[in-house]
């Protein structure tokens, strides 16, 4: 099995897909609008390049990023894709390796979109404010976005294996939560909108609350567990052949 070739094709299929390009374009336009419309003024009288403002920017961009991630996940569960995988299941390919390659390609596509959101903001900071201290911003951004992304990825795999429509329902839930700004407890805060809340209660030094960090840890553990489960799962139809051999 030539893993590199399969990974190359999986990347090509994602990066050249209409839904990816469209959502990426929308995300870029939205990020630019956020930078010019709110980031430039700073959040809660802090600098535009403060961690508070950057996290506020990312929590707004997160909605579209997560929708893009779920749309990429949903692609894996179309009838055509499922039937193509049926052919692969009768070949000598190790399905766990194949799935890991597919998941890695999806992760690359999402990380590219996330990196663009970061990059656009950093270019903006550099050009407008000549600010280049991006280290602490990257750290805060990764804590804000990666754990819920892992969780949503795992949840999409769980739901998609049942029915593709369930992934779209999850996508709709994410859209509704984001569009209507529905407030969730810190530990369940998907988009990280609660991060800037302490700023308005007089806290000046940027920190993540313990409840928020615990939530991020739970998202990471649940997401990674689900992803590993679905990578190791024997087959889409769960053939008992290998299962019996193991037992």
């Amino acid at each position: 099995m030539r893993k590199g070739t399969i990974f190359k094709y999986e990347l090509k299929r994602l990066f050249c897909s209409k839904e990816y390009l469209l959502l990426l374009a929308v995300n870029i336009v939205y990020c630019l609008a956020l930078l010019r419309g709110s980031v430039i003024y700073g959040t809660g009288f802090t600098a535009p390049f403060s961690q508070w403002t950057f996290c506020s920017y990312l929590s707004s961009a997160a909605v579209l990023l997560f929708i893009l991630l779920l749309a990429l996940c949903a692609r894996q569960f179309t009838t055509s894709e499922r039937r193509a995988v049926t052919i692969l299941e009768t070949s000598s390919v190790q399905m766990a390796v194949f799935r890991a390659i597919r998941y890695a390609a999806t992760a690359c596509a999402f990380l590219t979109a996330m990196g663009l959101s970061f990059g656009i903001c950093f270019v903006f900071y550099r050009l407008v404010f000549d600010y280049t201290g991006f280290g602490s911003l990257i750290y805060a951004g990764l804590i804000l976005l990666l754990p819920p992304a892992l969780f949503l990825f795992g949840a999409a795999m769980l739901l998609g294996h049942k029915r593709q429509a369930l992934v779209y329902i999850l996508l709709a839930v994410v859209l509704i939560l984001g569009a209507f700004g529905i407030s969730l407890p810190d530990c369940m805060d998907l988009f990280g909108t609660s991060v800037v809340r302490p700023l308005y209660t007089g806290v000046q030094k940027f920190t993540f609350s313990n409840e928020f960090l615990a939530g991020r840890a739970a998202f990471t553990i649940a997401g990674v567990a689900l992803i590993i489960f679905f990578i190791k799962r024997q087959r889409t139809n769960m053939s008992p052949m290998i299962f019996l051999r193991k037992s």
């Binding site: 030539r2 052919i87 000598s92 053939s239 052949m241």
Partner: protein
């Protein structure tokens, strides 16, 4: 290669007995036509042969050893075209075959040679660079057949391979299957009886999960005093002594 089915039965969890006590030996080189009405158990038998299902009772032996112990070996030498298959429609024909060759062929050079070979065999030269989504149903069927031929497998299993092909294409593929079966085992599941007579040297008729007939198409016609295989088949399925 020799595949033996011994007292093979398959009952699905909801209680439907798809196969009942099947005894059958399939040996290469041979082109075996597996025919039967809808619900006869053909697809279940295909899934058992491709190790996608486990039998409820009985066993399948490949060259004398249980299939369950050599699933990987079986699959490394298996070319399979399911009845309902999907293709990565956003890739071109060559890209899709390259994707599949990445699984079946160890290196790029072998893969390229194999892709060229199966493209020529399936007459897809003029569609090499076309996106699969732009191909007609018959052309997609040809891509499906092409992927199953990659890696020169010793066992080929085709489930309704000629569906969607025009008469000329069906004729060409019948010849291809016959040619391919000269040095390997090819199992052709079909409900198109005309595909069986000119191509297959052995016929297995399934009905209600049981084998009704196994032998050559000619001997079935002789047995049923029929002028055509279709008449002989109909007499067999309907339980008549002669056509």
């Amino acid at each position: 290669m020799k595949i033996e089915l011994k007292h093979l039965s398959k009952t699905y969890p909801h209680g439907k007995a798809a196969l009942k006590n099947i005894d059958l030996t399939l040996a290469s080189p041979s082109l075996i036509g597996l025919v039967g009405p809808n619900g006869a158990g053909k697809s279940t038998l295909m899934k058992l042969l491709t190790a996608n299902l486990l039998p409820t009772s009985g066993e399948i032996l490949k060259d004398g050893s249980p299939l369950i112990k050599q699933e990987k070996e079986l699959k490394s030498g298996l070319g399979y075209l399911p009845q309902e298959f999907g293709l990565f429609e956003d890739l071109t024909t060559t890209q899709f075959l390259d994707y599949m060759a990445a699984i079946k062929c160890p290196d790029k050079k072998t893969a390229k040679d194999e892709i060229d070979r199966v493209i020529a065999l399936t007459h897809l030269q003029d569609k090499q660079k076309a996106k699969i989504r732009t191909l007609s149903g018959g052309q997609k069927q040809r891509v499906g057949i092409a992927q199953s031929l990659l890696g020169d497998p010793e066992l080929l299993i085709f489930d309704e391979p000629t569906v969607g092909l025009d008469p000329a294409e069906r004729f060409a593929f019948r010849n291809l299957f016959a040619e391919t079966a000269k040095n390997r085992l090819v199992i052709l599941s079909t409900h198109i009886i005309e595909d069986v007579q000119p191509a297959c040297d052995h016929l297995v008729v399934l009905n209600g999960g049981e084998i009704l007939y196994t032998g050559t198409p000619e001997s079935l016609m002789a047995e049923k005093h029929a002028a055509t295989l279709e008449n002989a088949y109909m007499a067999l399925v309907n339980g008549r002594a002669s056509a």
